[in-house]
């Protein structure tokens, strides 16, 4: 599917890839792809091990997670206050703040700002927010070419592909595939790949370096996302590894940063928590190679024109839901993807959402409305591994269960009479909501041998779940039963 034409992405809503099959179907296709599964397993196991080393080394890791969750809780409960403070700080430091209610508004603001500079090309730092609003496509429609500069994003863009992981978007591609994409497509976008390009990662990285260098040295406008922004000082932070971020944030004359409203943190000093939590959870490093922090504009150093676009695009709907609200704490580290047994087997594309994995399963339905992504809250085993891994302690299983109930409600409201599926869902969610019932169902199933699995997946659920499971596979709980999880995580509170 082509990114450039906008044919793959729905023009109205870049957050869900409409036209892609719902999760159960897409997952079945992905499961049949052995190369994909091999690439995924290798990647997630490797990052998982590194993350455990990096977090295990910090004796006060749990205290850091507590602080991270608490800072985000404080921010969410007083979001209007902090955003107004951020706006004042950025403006005082010489930047301009814009507010965008939805994707279309954000895209219009960015296109207008770019057009005003006279530039037709922009360089981009990898950012989930701009992917979410389909910015590249919108800029394309306005006659502006956006160049992705993160190596993985470059692979995705050249290959007319979609990202499949938050941190390593081209995780589903191996080096031979990447070589072929570079050899075939680099010339169409700028400097071509060397004739004799082989599939050594060093050589591939070098080809990307040469290809992008020309763009960095001439670009007049850059577009970035933001990992954090401190309300008290107006300081914006971008963490990265390759230096493409620094290139974009430093060399062009104009910098436009698109930031979800939930990325604000109260104080500059609060960054001390997140700059510890993020790299270790994300890449399993003590610190990522480069972190850039800037406050408005600095005469003689870096962009002299800085714009901060604050993006809602459904986030206030998430805020409204007192259970779902905690999802806004997400710092996009991707730790939950790497520990998720479902993600490891299906990959990111199966979610049909800009945000894949456990975080995608809870965030996307909330951003777009559960009726538009009804299968995503079910794309999980509720094993709780994501909750254990999350550096800001988002209780993803809790939100999943909550959203499952909302899916059923939405279904019931939409149709005059409940469909058989809605009834089965209601039964399923009643059981999943109740630790005792599920425990009984699982034990009964195990004891009676009525739980038939094939290829590690439950084909048939017992009792009230049968009709629901007849139409979909249920991945078995990976590490513990829901009941055990419930006892440990919910009842103790």
């Amino acid at each position: 599917m082509s990114r450039g034409s906008g044919g793959g992405l729905d023009a109205n809503d870049g957050r869900v890839w409409l036209g892609t099959p719902a999760f159960p179907e897409a997952a079945r296709t992905a499961l049949a792809d052995t190369q994909l599964r091999h690439n995924l397993r290798h990647a997630t196991t490797t990052i998982r091990a590194k993350r455990l080393d990096a977090t295990g080394e910090v004796p006060h890791w749990e205290e850091l997670r507590e602080a991270g969750a608490a800072i985000k809780r404080r921010t969410a409960r007083h979001l209007d206050h902090y955003l107004e403070q951020l706006e004042r700080s950025v403006t005082e430091a010489g930047g301009t703040v814009h507010w965008a209610g939805d994707a279309a508004e954000a895209n219009r603001i960015v296109a207008r700002l770019v057009t005003a500079t006279g530039a037709r090309e922009v360089v981009k730092v990898k950012s989930m927010a701009t992917q979410e609003i389909g910015l590249n496509e919108a800029l394309g429609a306005a006659g502006i070419t956006a160049y992705e500069t993160d190596l993985a994003e470059l692979i995705v863009q050249l290959g007319e592909d979609r990202p499949s992981h938050i941190l390593v978007p081209a995780i589903h591609r191996n080096r031979a595939e990447i070589r072929d994409v570079f050899a075939a497509r680099m010339g169409d976008w700028g400097r071509a790949a060397p004739q004799d390009l082989d599939d050594d990662p060093k050589a591939l990285a070098e080809a990307a370096r040469l290809h992008l260098r020309e763009k960095f040295l001439t670009a007049e406008v850059a577009i970035s996302g933001a990992n954090f922004a401190a309300a008290d000082t107006g300081t914006v932070a971008v963490v990265e590894s390759e230096g493409n971020g620094r290139m974009c944030l430093t060399l062009p004359r104009t910098l436009i940063t698109v930031m979800g409203i939930e990325k604000v943190v109260p104080r500059f000093a609060d960054l001390e928590v997140f700059l510890q939590l993020l790299p270790r959870s994300s890449t399993g490093e003590r610190m990522n190679p480069y972190t850039s922090l800037w406050t408005g504009v600095t005469p003689g150093d870096g962009p002299q024109d800085f714009h901060l676009v604050l993006l809602d695009n459904g986030r206030t709907d998430v805020l409204k839901d007192t259970v779902g609200r905690q999802t806004l704490a997400c710092i996009r580290c991707s730790a939950c993807l790497n520990v998720c047994p479902v993600y490891e087997r299906t990959g990111g594309h199966a979610y049909g959402s800009v945000y894949p994995g456990p975080i995608g399963a809870v965030l996307t339905p909330q951003l777009v409305g559960v009726d538009k992504a009804p299968s995503l809250p079910f794309a999980s085993t509720l094993c709780g591994a994501c909750y254990d891994a999350c550096p800001v302690k988002i209780d993803i299983p809790e939100v999943l269960v909550h959203l499952r109930a909302r899916v059923v409600e939405a279904d019931r409201d939409r149709r005059a009479l409940p469909t058989p599926e809605a009834l089965a869902m209601a039964a399923a969610s009643a059981v999943l909501d109740s630790p005792t019932l599920l425990g009984i169902a699982q034990r009964a199933a195990a004891a009676g041998g009525r739980l038939t699995t094939r290829g590690g997946r439950i084909r048939r659920l017992p009792g009230p779940l049968r009709r629901w499971s007849a139409t979909r596979d249920t991945p078995p709980p990976a590490r513990e039963t829901f009941r055990t999880w419930w006892r440990e995580n919910r009842e103790r509170r």
């Binding site: 290798h42 007083h78 207008r112 990285a205 370096r209 401190a230 928590v273």
Partner: protein, 262 residues
């Protein structure tokens, strides 16, 4: 950079139309209104400080020898650390530049001239500011640092004297920085407490790197491929002085004094 702005592109969708629109801040009012409506469950008299933020993480004990820890941790990132006595810095800098084959090196204002006495590389000043192309044509940049972080093996640049603007340590392929022991702090919280957020800050942990291709680490994708650190050893490694307590009006419960950790 050539200026091509005489030829303005014709906008595909007419963004000019929105000019007035954005300026009147309809987006702002709408978003803030939705946020306030969404937070109906938050009591009207609740203040941010009413939401507690536990800071127990600050109570860690740094190792005695943070200078050695810093050197080890930087080494983990495939950067080179060379420790030398104060009177050896000029010679060490010269030797490293030679080892890297550096012929032209940018020296920012405020970089100590006594560190430059032994090298025969061409010294280039950034005054008047070099164009990006000129910068691309030099081999290396020499800097001091604002702060260094032992636990993570990080150096922090704040564009202060001896560091220059951010582009200097980004475009050339080699970056050599001189670190003094008293600049090393144990961890990230102490580093941020020492920094001025109004300055542009860059935290550097090893050379640029990517792991995007089969998670194989490759150094130097866009930033400098080589990072050399000269660590000035002045007899017994010094303990960092305690930074001043930062103003924390919003969080009175915060034990933000790094002194509390020892």
């Amino acid at each position: 950079m050539t200026d091509e702005r005489t030829d303005r592109p014709r906008p595909g969708t007419s963004p000019a139309e929105d000019d007035r629109h954005d300026r009147t801040d309809t987006g702002r009012a709408a978003v803030l209104g939705r946020i306030r409506a969404a937070l109906g469950d938050v009591p009207a008299d609740e203040t941010p400080a009413d939401v507690p933020v536990p800071r127990a993480y600050l109570r860690t004990t740094p190792p005695d020898d943070i200078v050695t820890l810093f050197a080890e941790r930087v080494g983990d990132y495939r950067a080179t650390v060379v420790r030398c006595a104060p009177e050896e810095v000029a010679r060490t800098v010269a030797a490293l530049l030679e080892r890297r084959g550096v012929r032209r090196v940018v020296v920012p204002d405020g970089f100590p001239p006594e560190f430059l006495t032994r090298t025969d590389a061409d010294l280039v000043r950034d005054a008047p500011p070099l164009t990006v192309r000129q910068l691309d044509a030099v081999d290396s940049t020499l800097t001091t640092v604002a702060v260094a972080i032992a636990e993570t093996g990080t150096v922090v640049l704040d564009a202060g004297p001896g560091q220059g603007r951010r582009a200097l340590t980004l475009v050339p392929d080699h970056h050599l920085c001189v670190v003094h022991p008293e600049q090393i702090v144990p961890d990230v919280p102490e580093a941020l407490a020492r920094l001025d957020p109004r300055r542009p800050l860059t935290l550097v942990s090893g050379p640029s790197a990517t792991s995007d291709i089969e998670l194989r680490r490759v150094e130097g994708v866009h930033g400098p491929r080589i990072l050399d650190i000269v660590l000035v050893t002045s007899g017994t490694p010094a303990r960092p002085e305690t930074p001043e307590t930062s103003e924390t009006p919003e969080t009175p419960e915060t034990p933000d004094t790094p002194g509390a950790r020892t």
